[in-house]
Amino acid sequence: MIKNGIRVVIARLGMDAHWRGSIVVARALRDAGMEVIYLGNQMPENIVEAAIQEDADIIGLSTLSGNHMILAPEVVRILREKNMNNTMVILGGTIPPDDIPKLKQAGIAEVFGPGTSLKKIVDFVSGSN
């Protein structure tokens, strides 16, 4: 069962402006009954700021440029700095498999690479998986 009222902030990390993945995921989450706030491209500071304002349960980051090792941990760091300890950060995009353990160590809750099904993401976000 999907918990009602899960609030998700979706953002594209950094400069690359391809939006297909992030929008498709945003739509799937919305169709699953969640509140989705789509920010488009933003830097870590702004993403966290939006998450605070929106009282987000989850931040979903999307990137394909290869900037994930720099910017994704940055989002987690700033979030913790602001004591947003209950907000989970997840990441999707072209992430080389070797980077996944490092990202998890940096506090990213889950990483969804190319080919991940929407169902898997929705299940994870809704907490049923």
Partner: protein, 559 residues
């Protein structure tokens, strides 16, 4: 009249075919399972009755002649191969220059230069938004000095260069730097050959971010470059309507072609409004399409696009020059079809896709590398992609005759059906007031987003098979390829920008930026002033900021 079949023949066939159909396909239940990727239903068999209305001279004709459906040149690949134009770009220009030279040494016949994300969006490497993306996805270019380094030792007077300057805000600076660099090297502008992408949809609908230029401003910049080239760089293709990218964002084959043609119509109308004769610029309007996985639909798409463009140019714009009527295009195999799973499979995918481009009559091709769903291509994967093209070119003999599928009952019928759908969509956009309006009101964004979502759901329901992703999966697969690491970029670019800003004549630099601002106010052609301005070593970011100060910014309505 040169009808393909006599009415009697068709009648006779119809009877026979009905009998055959009754015997072997008694029900229609299987029909719904066979359709193209864009949703056109596919029959079990095609016969003359499916193209019974076609007239050879009116609808097919000869290659190099109206309506150009069979190819834009009389001899096609017998006379000259398509250009092997492999994309390259990463890190600082010093590194990409080496990759360009490597590909040329290995037999590439053109340069296809891709720029990093900050450059594509008009930011300097040192911008606070850019530090994590400098050198990623392409080469970092900040000033004319970077452009000099990028093409150092490459004969730009002989080799054609495609600048993948997707967004007009990027193109207006980067193409200006390319031209200024050519002038500095003493290459006459009328000898310069190449293409720039320069498509306003890329800035406002396809790859979008908050605070981009408003659609009208971006469209203006795009038209400024076309006008400038028509007057000063006659062999340059100043725009490449980027249907490929539209497709990557989610478009169907129908939308891909309809949206690029709508864009080309808008540009043509604008340039005519500026007082140019259609034949002075239309021969240099060029197109860029995707080669996706539906083999025959893609072939039909290229052929249909040529015939529709011919009719638009001939009937709507009264173009007379044959070159204005002929739609020339570059193809890239579909990045979105690549899988991170079992990446070597991508070589097979890209090869089939490239074959469809050749059978569809492409002028130039990039084949994707097998590792592109994972990282920037390595030297090995880039080379394998180039070799895929060379195998197609040298071994398969598909180039022996022109338009080998012309006259195929199936391909012609599919070409007609796809064509009808494209024309219907074009009419819809016309009724809306054209492509700029369709972007401003967010209609394009919605259309693409819906299609992208439907595509993903088709994969998840299993309606669409993707090998390695939703079938023939390998659990806990160990990656069989080495991944590419982007070389250090930011520090190198930072050092150069610092040095340049210190050494440049600051009065001249300020004057250059003032000139650009004034040009915006006076609504003059910006390309003319920016080609001169970049010689004062102002940065791309400085130019973009000046433009955004004048035109304001816009947040595309995508969600």
């Amino acid at each position: 009249m040169s009808k393909l079949f006599k009415n009697d023949t068709i009648e006779e066939l119809r009877e026979k075919e009905d009998q055959w159909q009754k015997e072997f396909y008694p029900t229609e239940k299987d029909q719904q399972f066979f359709k193209t990727l864009s949703g056109i239903p596919i029959e079990p068999l095609y016969t003359p009755k499916d193209i019974a209305d076609m007239d050879y001279l009116r609808d097919l004709g000869f290659p190099g002649d109206e309506p150009f459906i069979r190819g834009v040149y009389p001899s096609m690949y017998r006379g000259q191969s398509w250009t092997l134009r492999q994309l390259a770009g990463f890190g600082p220009p010093e590194e990409t220059n080496k990759r360009y030279k490597f590909l040329l040494e290995q037999g590439a016949t053109g340069i296809n230069g891709v720029f990093d994300y900050p450059t594509l969006r008009g930011y300097d490497s040192t911008d606070p938004h850019a530090y994590a993306d400098a050198g990623r996805g392409g080469v970092a270019i900040d000033t004319l000095e970077d452009m000099r380094i990028l093409f150092h030792g490459i004969p730009i007077e002989k080799i054609s260069t495609s600048l993948v300057t997707c967004q007009p805000i990027c193109n207006i600076s980067i193409q200006s730097m390319y031209i200024a660099n050519a002038q500095n090297r003493g290459v006459p502008l009328n000898e310069l050959t190449g293409t720039s992408q320069n498509d306003f949809l890329m800035e406002t609908a396809i790859t979008i971010a908050p605070e981009v230029l408003p659609p009208k401003a971006s469209f203006k910049l795009s038209c400024d470059a076309i006008e400038y080239c028509a007057k000063h760089v006659p062999r340059w293709n100043p725009i490449s309507f980027a249907g490929y990218n539209y497709r990557e964002a989610g478009c169907s084959a129908t939308q891909e072609v309809a949206f690029v043609l709508a864009n080309a119509i808008a540009c043509t109308e604008e340039l005519i409004k500026r007082g140019l004769d259609v034949d002075s610029f239309a021969p240099r309007l060029s197109f860029f399409f995707s080669a996706h996985s539906d083999f025959f639909e893609e072939i039909a798409k290229y052929r249909a696009a040529r015939r529709i463009w011919y009719r638009i140019m001939k009937e709507r714009f009264k173009a007379k020059d044959t070159r204005s009527l002929a739609l020339r295009f570059h193809v890239q195999t579909a990045g979105v079809s690549l899988t991170a799973q079992q990446p070597l499979n991508n070589t097979a995918r890209a090869a089939y896709q490239a074959l469809s481009a050749v059978l569809g009559g492409a002028q130039s091709i990039h084949v994707d590398a097998y590792d592109e769903a994972l990282c920037t291509p390595t030297e090995l994967s880039s080379l394998t992609a180039l070799r895929t093209q060379q195998i197609l070119q040298q071994e398969t003999r598909v180039t022996n005759t022109v338009d080998p599928l012309g006259g195929s009952y199936f391909v012609e019928s599919l070409t007609n059906q796809l064509g009808d759908r494209i024309v219907a969509l074009l009419e819809e956009i016309d009724e809306m007031g054209g492509i700029v309006k369709a972007v401003e009101k967010g209609w394009i964004h919605k259309e693409i987003s819906n299609e992208a979502y439907a595509y993903q759901r088709a994969i998840e329901s299993g309606e669409m098979s993707i090998v390695g992703v939703n079938c023939y999966k390998i659990e806990n697969e160990k990656l069989p390829v080495e991944l590419f690491d982007v070389p250090e970029t930011l520090q190198i670019q930072e050092k150069k920008i610092k040095k340049i800003k210190k050494e440049r004549n600051s009065l001249q630099a300020q004057r250059a930026l003032d000139d650009i601002a004034r040009c915006c106010d006076e609504d003059k052609n910006l390309m003319e002033v920016i080609v001169d301005s970049v010689k004062a070593y102002i940065t791309e970011g400085e130019i973009s900021k000046t433009l955004k100060m004048s035109y304001g910014t816009w947040n595309p309505p995508v969600f």
